[in-house]
Amino acid sequence: MKAFLAGCVAAVAIAVVAALVLGGLGMSSEEVFTIAQSVRL
């Protein structure tokens, strides 16, 4: 159970770090071509 929770926390932490780094590089999620495009199809 602890390993599972640690995995969840780590996943969120890595995602947040990725968002901050990519945000710092100037990439917003709206600029993601395919995923945004797929939603609109």
Binding site: M1, A3, G7, I14, A15, A18, S29, V32, I35
Partner: protein, 400 residues
Amino acid sequence: MEIRMRLTGMCGGICRGICARLAGAALIGLAFLLVGGVADVGLGWTNQAAAQSGGSVRPPASANKWAPSKPGKIVPQGGGDVQKGAGAGNLPKTAGPQQSQPRMWRDIRRGIQGKVSIPNQKAGYLIQSQGQMWRELRNTKVFKFGAWLLAGTVAVLLLFFIYRRRIPIDGGESGRTMERFNNLERFAHWLTAVTFIILGLSGLNLLYGKSVMAWLVGNEAFAAPNSSAKAAWAVVTEVGKIAHNYLGFAFIVGIVLMVVIWLRQNLPDKYDIPWLLKGGGLITKGHPAARKFNFGQKMIFWSVVIVGGIISYTGVMLLFPESKSLIDMQSNQYWHAVLSLVMIAVIIAHIYIGSLGMKGAFQAMGSGQVDENWAKQHHSAWVDEVTGKDGKAPAGGAAE
């Protein structure tokens, strides 16, 4: 009694809903048939009238003067100036026929790139014909392939469960446990598993959401999030899309961790072929020997590493569209979708055998401790290794 009434009411509601939708579809189909039929009848009537009246429905003689002398060029047949043609006297000068430019449009259709003054040079493509092919592939073949693959996987597992039921522990639980996976191993597994489940569900929503969820939750709940407070599923889609973008990196970290921890134990060994020939003991009776990972688990591992690696690569490429051409992006998206669907099918089977399908299996990744009888049944060579019965020094994983 009350529960029964409620269930009856729910079933009635669902049935009414389905009936209403089917009736709606039937009405729309009928309407199309009627409109199409009326249009056909009307056209037939016009043709019939023309045939019956002979030359009375011919166009006026002046109309032929505007027929093109060759495709793509419109000139009056008299050879005169368009604006001053014999039949053009009644037309305003600005309403004259314009030159079509088939060569230019053909080049545009073939993907010729113009120049633009904005940073996004891809905007120089007016038409990218491969985009239509990609869209067609995604919305038809990939869509159907995924639906059949996932439904087929679930159906096969259901049949397997009916045939084999839950695979028991031979001789029952011994009461003694041994460590199967340590904290780091379970952490790596759950990091990858949790992210994959979220990525899989949010990805499926991107591919099937409009068809399945819009039908299930209704168009209002599926609409754009800013248009209505009722559009709850649109919020889920929006959050899911953002989560999909960023959790992908956690998935990559999980794969790298698993490679570092488990690569050596997932290399081929002498137990693999006999295990495969016996079907892993899943279909026939008797359990073939295996080390820490049997052949089936190795296949899961390499699927995650190789297929998951390609999915990760294409996913990261999709996050940075500026660095790739349009056709590369379409290719990346196609393989990302197809391989993800394959991976989801593989993981559904993995989840089944690791939980419902086999007694005692979940504890391996749950608490990390498995029953000794379970370990001897499925991984006898590994038990010999960790207990030193193979004549070598114990490799770790002490019995409790």
